[in-house]
Every structure is written in C-alpha cells, then in structure tokens.
C-alpha cells in the first residue's frame, strides 16, 4: 500500500476563501471525473507546507495547481517549470508560513528534489471573502485549467479518460 505512483498532482489553496481554493477545486474535479493510466497520486494539499515533503522525491514528477499572483489579468492561466518556480516565487517564509518555495528549497536540502516539477498557476480575482464558491471569472476558466492539467500529464506519459 505504500509504493506510490511517480506522478503526483497537488492542489493547493483554501476552499473557504473563494478563488484561493482553485487548486483544490481543480484536483477534486480531476479525481472525480477522470481515470488515469498509469495511475497517479492526487493530493489535496490545502494550505500546508512541510506536510507535503513526503510527496517529493528524485523519482517524482509533480504538478502543482494553485492560485498565483502573476500581476496579470484575473483568470490568466500560466505555468512555471522546475527551477523557474523557485526563482520566480517570493520566499514565503517571511510571510505566512513555510510555503511552496520553502518546501522546494527543503526538498533540495534533504535530497528529495523532484525530477520534474510544473506549477500551473491561476491569477485569482478575489480571495477576500469567506465563501466556498469561486468567482465567475475563475469558474469561466475552470475548464481551461483542467484541460491544461490533462495536457501536462499527457506530456508526462499519463493517459486520461472520462469516468
């Protein structure tokens, strides 16, 4: 039960705060609507940091889905790859908690750096309010996010089919 798949999709965010939850909403959708071959691991990462370290490792390809402030138009979907993720993201250790960039640094320091890593980011419109629903802008690009996630997985040799 503990040999786990090498491809991991991690959704990050807080589903209580509108568009903050986009990453988690997206991976839940993937989990509910699709099957994957070979099998992949789908992780609801919430807003945790260090708890995600076990999913990293030199044999892993990791797709992260999350709200990212690219300073672009709300609803913009964009990706960052490998070292560019760390280079582009603000080290969050100084703000909220041991965030994604810290996690990536720590994975390197503990010899758990992933073989391949892509951050699929979405520019949120609003995450100010306590609301389980995302904004219409983000709902409008939801399918685009899913299709891009499936495309990246396909590039990694993962076939998906609708349930």
């Amino acid at each position: 039960m503990f040999s786990s798949p090498d491809v991991v999709v991690i959704g990050l965010g807080n589903i209580l705060m509108e568009d903050e939850g986009i990453g988690v909403h997206a991976i839940r959708h993937l989990e509910e609507k699709y099957t994957f071959s070979p099998e992949i691991e789908i992780v609801d990462g919430g807003t945790s940091g260090l708890d995600l370290l076990p999913f990293f490792g030199p044999e892993k390809s990791i797709l992260l889905v999350d709200a990212v402030n690219f300073n672009m138009k709300p609803g913009t979907v964009a990706s960052l790859e490998d070292d560019a993720i760390l280079a582009q993201l603000d080290p969050k250790i100084s703000l909220h908690h041991l965030g994604l960039s810290d996690l990536i640094s720590i994975s390197e320091l503990t010899d758990r750096k992933a073989k391949k890593m892509t951050l699929l980011g979405i520019q949120p419109e609003s995450m100010e309010n306590l609301d389980l629903e995302m904004t219409d802008t983000i709902k409008g690009v939801f399918d685009k996010i899913i299709q891009n996630a499936l495309r990246i997985l396909k590039e990694w040799g993962i076939e998906s089919s609708k349930r």
Binding site: E20, A78, I93
Partner: protein
Amino acid sequence: MTKRIVVDPVTRIEGHLRIDCDITDGKVSKAWSSGQMWRGIETILKGRDPRDAWVFTQRICGVCTTVHAIASVRAVENALDMEIPVNAQYIRNMVIAAHGIHDHIVHFYHLSALDWVDVVSALSADPKAASKLAQSLSDHPNNGWQEYKAVQDKLKTFVGSGQLGIFANGYWGHPAMKLPPEVNLIAAAHYLEAFEVQRKANQITSILGSKTPHIQNVAVGGVSNPINPDSQAALNMERLQLVKDLMDQLQSFIYNAYIVDVAVVASFYQDWLGYGSGVMDYLSVPDFPTDTKGTQFGTPGGYIPGGDVSKMKPITSFGDPYFRDGVKESVKHAWYEGDSNLHPYKGETEPHYTDFQDDGKYSWVKAPTFLGKPAQVGPLSNVLAMYAAGHETTQKVAGVAFAKIKAITKSKSDIPISVLHSTLGRHAARAIRCAVLFEELEKNYNYLINNIAGGDMTTFNPPVFPKGEQQGFGFHEAPRGVLSHWIVIKNGKIENYQAVVPSTWNAAPRNDDDAIGPYEASLMGNPIADEKKPLEVLRTIHSFDPCLACAIHLHDNKGKDVSKVNVL
C-alpha cells in the same frame, strides 16, 4: 527616552502577526500584539449539519488541521451527550500524539532554532570536535564525525549556491548569538535530521487518519476506520505494525536530540531562563481520554493561578463546568463591533476595522479570559499542570532535562522548576511535552492492540439529533495549547459556532479591563541590543509557537521579470 519599534510581520511563524514595542533605556516598556488577519470561519458554518462541521474547521489553518477536526467532533458529541467507543478514543489519541510530536519538532528546529543557532557559524566548526561533544551529551546514533562532516559539506554547497531562502532572516553574526561553532553544527545536523523525523510522525497520522494533511477518519460518534485484523481495506495488523515501526524510530530523536539540544541552548543562553515570563496564570486541559465519556485522561490539565503549582485546580472531564463557565471573549480592543465581553455560546463575529489605535482597537484577535483574567496557554501551561498533578513521565523527563542543564553549566545547585517561567522555559516545556506525547502514542497503541485482541472492533456510535436546541463544547490540548470549539445546535442544524484557538489566548490584545495579553506581558523588560535587529522580540514571541490562522497563502511572483512564465 522612549522609542517605538514595529515588527511586521513577525517572521518564521504561521500566520501574520505584528508586534509593536516601546523601548525605554534599552528595554521593552510597553507592547502591543496585533493579529493582522480576520478569521471568520464561524460565519460559514451557520445552518450546516453539525456532523460536517469538522470538515470545514479543518481548513481554518494549514498547520493545525487535525486539531480543529478533533475539537469540532468533541463539541458536537458534548452537545448530544454522547459516549464514543474506546477504540475510537485510542485511534484519535494516536493521531493527536503523532501530530503533536511532528508539530513540536518542526516548531523547535525549523521555526525557532534559527533564533539561537547561527548556521553560518556551523561552517567553520571542527567536525571531530563536534562529534566528541555530541557523544559526551547523548547516545544519539548519528553522532560520528563523518556524519558531521557530511552535514557541513552539504550546508557549504547549499549556502555557496546562494540559496539562503529557508535560512533567510536568521540573524547570523548578531551579537546576541552565543553558541560555539561546534554546537551550531550539531544543531544544524539535527535541523536536517528533523525533516525526516517529522515526516515519520506525519506518516503515522496519515496511516491512521487515512490521509494527510487533512485527516479523513474522524466522525461525530467515533472514527470511520473499520477495524478488521484480516482485511486489506481496514485498519489491519499490517498497518498497525507499520505504525509501530515508525513509532520506534521517533524515540531516540526525541530523547537524545530534541531534549538534549534544548538543554544545550538553555545552558548557553541562561539569561533567557530569566526573561519572558509574562502572564503567569496558566490554563491547560486534560487530554488522551481512555473511557467512553471522557472522564479518565492520560494527561492532566487545569488552571494554575499566579504560577503557583501548589494551587493548581484540575479540569476533570469533557463536560467540566469549571472550564465551560470560566471562558469569555472581549472585543473592546479588537476589530469587531462594539465592546462586548461574551461567553462563546453567545459569541459574535461582526468585523469593524479601525486604524491601529494604541488605546483603542488594534487587532483582529479577540481577548479571551479565564475567570476574568488573561491566561497563558501552551506546552508550558500543560507541563506545569502535569507536574503539579504528579504525572510521572513529566516529572521524570523534566528531571533529565534539568540534570543536563546542571551538568553542562557545571552549576552547583539543582535547576529549579521556576526557570520554566521564561522564554527558553517554553521551549524546554515543549520538548518535555514531546516525550509525554511519545509515551501516550505508545500507551494508546498498546490499549488498541489489547482491546482488538479481546474481540472489541467497535469504532463508531451513530449520533442522534433531537428536536430543539442543544449546546456543547469540545476542548483539546493542542500543540499550541487549549483549543475549544463551542456549538449551538437547533433542530439538527448549526445555530452558532465559535472557535477559541490557542494563539487567541496568547496573542490576545488588551481585554475588557485593559489588562495586557500573554505575548505583550512576556515582552516587558526584555532587553533590546539593536533596535534595527530586534532578535530578542522574535525569540520571546517565537517561544509561544504563534499560529495566526493562515487562511490565505497566495504565492507572489516576486520579480517583474515574467519571461519564464508561460501564459496558456
């Protein structure tokens, strides 16, 4: 002359906290603690099914997921006056213990150690001398000089590649850093090892809780893990054996690294056993229930007024009215409507933001009180209560830690328990509590195995919601201290919900009587060597393990250079 310094945000904590201090003659003369985030989870729960509340409360914070699930189901069970199967208690207890061990270790090594340990200094240590020193301190297996050399090489490569990210904001070279290079190297080695250790503790949570970071196995009425020693789909012997194997790997690190390292830090920074006490009315609650009703507990808790352990009044059951009737929350100095001071059942969460007003409202955190006074919560409060109650492991481990400090400092007299009322005392208490948690993990594992062997596989009693109104509360001695959830149920739906979280107690602003909160009080009199680098403020605040509900975690694209961003 008085000068104001503002630390905003306080780094290496969970959440967003601002601390203001007035400095007079090099010492803190006035302090304000201000939570900079609004947490209004309560509003999202109104009208929902009480059985689902834990799923949402688990999302309040990215770090304290498990604890909010536990407190929530306990609150609903209390409202319905339920009993839950002992197997469910044991499984929950193991999840709580494993989570707590993980959390305490991460707090000391990854969030606080850099206040005391200078990683850059470790680069100039002599690995052989470090090994010799480490071997004189404990029997930890990874104490060979080759191991220390390897760690040093790794750090050199890491620092050399310009990746200081995770060590950023460490005040290396600060005059208040006192550890010799060899001690810094030992601590840095354990900093790295702690990543693996916390992962193992987490894996236990994940096996029993079905998933991490958000456990899936709790339910109002018990746990949803079916127990079947022979089934692949259930909690079986194979999984339980794996839990046992992981458990055994935690012990050496807790006893031979964590407790020893804290004692070493305390020995080199003895001054800090004298600063930072603050509010000495301590509140903790009993936990690790071993009966169906929650009247028998593995770890005691209670209220200690004025730091006098002989006056400890124990809290004795999940329904104890002494706790229930003692709690209130004031919004006089917090950014909510009005100046009410209400019991949590009546609690209101209507935001009303003003500017930062020294004498008015200045924080999103409400000010909770116990018996009308601010109370300090956390491992220190819990350890003092356990010590007062004669809890054997607490007394034994505290003795070991104090003996270490005595030996390292070559002190002639015994180290008194009163040193715990301090900044480093909070770290020492957390390490002691970590050993207590390990013991609870082992004990509950054995209880579970024996109970299953006796043929009891029950893990769940279904809840029944009567018509009309019920109210209940659930408490939990979480890694950061007393957590309580309060629920009012009307015709099977949530009518009101309030969570009084540990950091609310400690980070509280002034209360209804304008009495200062525990963070604020703990800073009074702290020396500040360099106003531009107020390391001392961080040391004292970090010792509480602040966690201000990081509901938001958005990543920022730091550079203006977007050339590497592929717009899709």
